[in-house]
Amino acid sequence: MPGIDLRGVEFTPVSPKLTRVKLIGAVIGGLIWLAVLSVPLVLRLTGVWSELWAWVAWGLPAIVLVWLLVDVVLVPRRVRALGFAEREDDVLWREGILVRSVKAVPYGRLQYVDVEDGPLLRSQGLQTLTLKTAGGDDLEMEGLTRETCDRLREVLMARGQARLAGL
């Protein structure tokens, strides 16, 4: 099937370590949901709420488990789909497996950049770089190693100026 394919653009994939971070995140989130949605089942099994339909009691946690499973299966592919490319005048970001998209942010359009991380990301040496333009549609680049992030930040800032100068 034909997909978006920009000629001559080679995307650099993000760090594969992001997969682990996302997996841990997905599992933690899934477990929390599981705990919450298992309450009716526990109530039914302990006889507190015995009139509850069995399919509801078992179905809720089952949905969460299936959801979690699908998520876990898809995470590696989703991470592999992420990538960036620095071009002469702009930076490109690619994402998505089902709905794919490519976004271009020209260096000269940057208003400011954010670098963020959390404990999980930090443990893998990863950071998230957010580029803001006046367009209001932020570009969030996930899964960059700290070195890449620092380098990109520096380069983006320098390029903003240099590109402006290049009449």
Binding site: M1, P2, G3, I4, D5, L6, T12, P13, V14, S15, P16, K17, R20, V79, E88, D89, G96, V99, R100, S101, V102, K103, A104, V105, P106, G108, R109, L110, Q111, Y112, V113, D114, V115, D117, G118, P119, K132, T133, A134, G135, G136, D137, L139, T145, E147, T148, D150, R151, E154, V155, M157, A158, G160, Q161, A162, R163, L164, A165, G166, L167
Partner: protein, 621 residues
């Protein structure tokens, strides 16, 4: 996923030159100049948390105190009371400690730096963030004194950028008032180029209560005069454009009246608007259904059924009627007496029944235009014109202030567009040349084609036939775009027609998207963002949109250089710009970038000669 997999982001040896920047530029240099906000800041920001804590603590002890006072000589209750008091106190103390710790960490990890080229703010302990903003992105610097902060003699410095969001780009909160004023001045001085060189020693600034303002300013001999007027002026600092505009605009100039919207037409337009017609249509259907149901019901149930149905209609109808009345009223109120004038600084709008609003739309601020014609307006030939205008100057509430013409015939649309719409850029276009089948395309002709046209004429590209069944059966020949030298024109809608025109040079960023069905059809969608607006093209051929993606992203990158440099720069800004360029050129990254961009940097440290600077600026600069 194996963690041992080679990191694809590691700098490659065969990568382009700019990729091989040393990972850690100069260790140690990154730590200098960081300043912490006032230690009381978390307490003020988290005042509600503190208030809850105090409330619980005081209520508890208060109740107990009152209880024990009233209980007086009740000796039996005493030991129990003491124990409970101890436990309660312990819990409260623990909570207090936790709060103190959290606030301490929050304070300890909030640092900012007013650097040579950018302002930076670091926040967070567990989840950390670091924001960087260059001075040339600065729109305004405000001092803010919220009530609680004011009680402690503190203030917040709010730095605004044109980021399209409602929040400040950077909020340095809170600082002692003198320090805040100091920081604001330093930011303004640096932004205006009055202050260059390394960051001021933060200790001096912090301890500079006795010498406000002089630090750093006097420390740079031979520099450009300080922008004292800017720094001391209350309120937001005017951006470069505002300053230029301020010079051009004559407040006394009311302009010449170009057109007025007659009341009759406005009433008609409001009555025939989508909201009104839509609501009426929904209710017509509902009534018909109720009638139909009562028809088929057996005789004796008819009356009851009708009554019930009517009751239901009334119950759902009343709120709908109220909201409808509200919509009609606001439409009439906003559009009443709508007058468009032309003046030296753009379109002057005046409108409103209960409250007259005056508004100026400078053409330089218009990012894009949007012309709409609801189906019911077509017999009358009416249209509505909206403009996308970038932020700060127009109060940010662009949402209901974006109407340049509430309703008007096509001629009015053209007259308004003539002022606000940018150059159509079709001169020199093959379409503009007179051909055998008639005269060439004019700007007005292009707009007309965009409004009413269909199919591939006038250079429009529309949805391919193969993709028409995917939500576009009616509009597939209509929805499309065309390019001119300066504009991207997007038309859409068969029944409710509209078109948008965006200037290439205003494009901020571009996104190309493709869903699963689109992939099967080999089509895609493209979103083009400008400040305060966007245009979307859905379901066109993938290859065509890939090309458009390249065109728009290239335009976005390149035309800004031209636009920024020769249109809005004041002499001192140009000077600063050249100096920054030279500074950037001194750095390793900068040199490579400059070379890549084809800029020749002179030995004396000034950038490429400003060839396209407006008259009169060169000798002053």
């Amino acid at each position: 996923m194996s963690a041992a997999a080679p990191d694809p982001q590691a700098p490659r040896t065969d990568a382009p030159a700019d990729v091989a920047v040393p990972a850690a530029p100069t260790p140690g240099a990154d730590d200098a100049g960081w300043v912490r906000v006032h230690p009381a800041s978390p307490w003020i920001k988290g005042w509600s948390l503190v208030a809850v804590f105090l409330f619980v603590a005081l209520r508890d002890t208060g109740e107990r105190l009152v209880g024990s006072l009233l209980g007086g000589g009740d000796a039996a209750g005493e030991p129990f009371e003491m124990q409970a008091l101890l436990i309660g106190g312990g819990i409260l103390l623990g909570a207090l400690l936790l709060l103190c710790l959290a606030f301490f960490f929050s304070w300890w990890f909030t640092r900012f730096r007013v650097g040579e080229e950018e302002i930076e703010l670091k926040q967070g302990w567990l989840f950390r963030s670091r924001r960087q903003m260059k001075y040339d992105r600065l729109q305004a610097v405000d001092l803010q004194y919220p009530l609680l902060a004011r009680l402690f003699g503190l203030a917040a410095v709010k730095v605004e950028a044109a980021d399209g969001g409602g929040d400040s780009a950077l909020e340095l909160a809170y600082l002692r008032k003198a320090h805040a004023a100091e920081v604001r001045r330093e930011i303004l001085d640096r932004a205006s180029g009055a202050l260059v060189g390394p960051a001021r020693a933060p200790e001096r600034v912090v301890g500079a209560a006795g010498e406000p303002g002089v630090v750093g300013l006097g420390g740079e001999p031979g520099e450009a005069p300080s922008s004292q007027d800017l720094a001391t002026a209350p309120g937001p600092a005017p951006s470069a454009r505002d300053r230029v505009r301020g010079l051009l605009a004559d407040p006394q100039d009311e302009g010449t009246v170009m057109l007025r919207v007659p009341p009759g037409r406005l009433v008609g337009a409001v009555m025939l608007s989508d909201v009104v017609l839509g609501t009426v249509a929904v209710f017509a259907v509902l009534i018909a259904v109720v009638m139909g149901i009562s028809e088929v019901l057996p005789g004796e149930a008819t009356e009851a059924g009708q009554a019930g149905g009517l009751g239901l209609l009334l119950a759902s109808g009343l709120p709908a009627a109220f909201s409808l009345a509200g919509a009609v009223w606001s439409g009439l109120n906003k559009g009443w007496g709508f007058t468009v004038r032309t003046s030296g600084d753009g379109l002057r709008l005046r409108y409103g029944l209960t409250e007259t609003t005056s508004q100026t739309i400078p053409p330089g601020r218009v990012q894009g235009i949007h012309v709409i014609q609801p189906l019911a307006w077509r017999p009358f030939g009416w249209h509505k014109v909206k403009v996308s205008v970038a932020g700060y100057g127009l109060e940010g509430a662009v949402k209901d202030r974006d109407v340049a013409l509430p309703v008007g015939p096509w001629e009015d649309v053209l007259r308004v567009l003539e002022v606000v719409a940018p150059d159509a850029g079709i001169d020199g276009d093959p379409r503009a040349a007179d051909g055998p089948d008639g005269p060439g395309l004019t700007p007005a002709g292009l707009m007309h084609a965009a409004m009413t046209g269909s199919g591939g004429t006038h250079g429009f590209t529309h949805i391919p036939r193969r993709a028409r069944w995917w939500f576009n059966l009616l509009t597939w020949r209509r929805h499309g775009f065309t390019l001119t030298r300066t504009l991207l024109v997007v038309r859409r809608g068969r029944l409710r027609r509209s078109f948008q025109a965006l200037q290439h040079e205003r494009v901020q960023d571009v996104r190309l998207t493709q869903g699963p069905v689109q992939r099967r059809l080999d089509v895609a969608s493209l979103t083009v963002n400008v400040a305060g607006g966007m245009a979307r093209i859905d379901g066109l051929d993938r290859g065509v949109l890939e090309e458009l993606f390249e065109v728009e992203s290239r335009h976005a990158a390149v035309s800004r250089r031209l636009a920024d440099r020769n249109r809005w720069m004041l002499p001192e800004e140009l000077e600063r710009f050249e100096r920054r360029t030279a500074e950037v050129a001194q750095t390793e990254v900068g040199r490579r970038e400059m070379a890549a961009a084809g800029v020749v940097v002179g030995v004396e440290g000034s950038g490429k000669a400003p060839g396209r600077v407006a008259d009169g600026r060169e000798e002053r600069a």
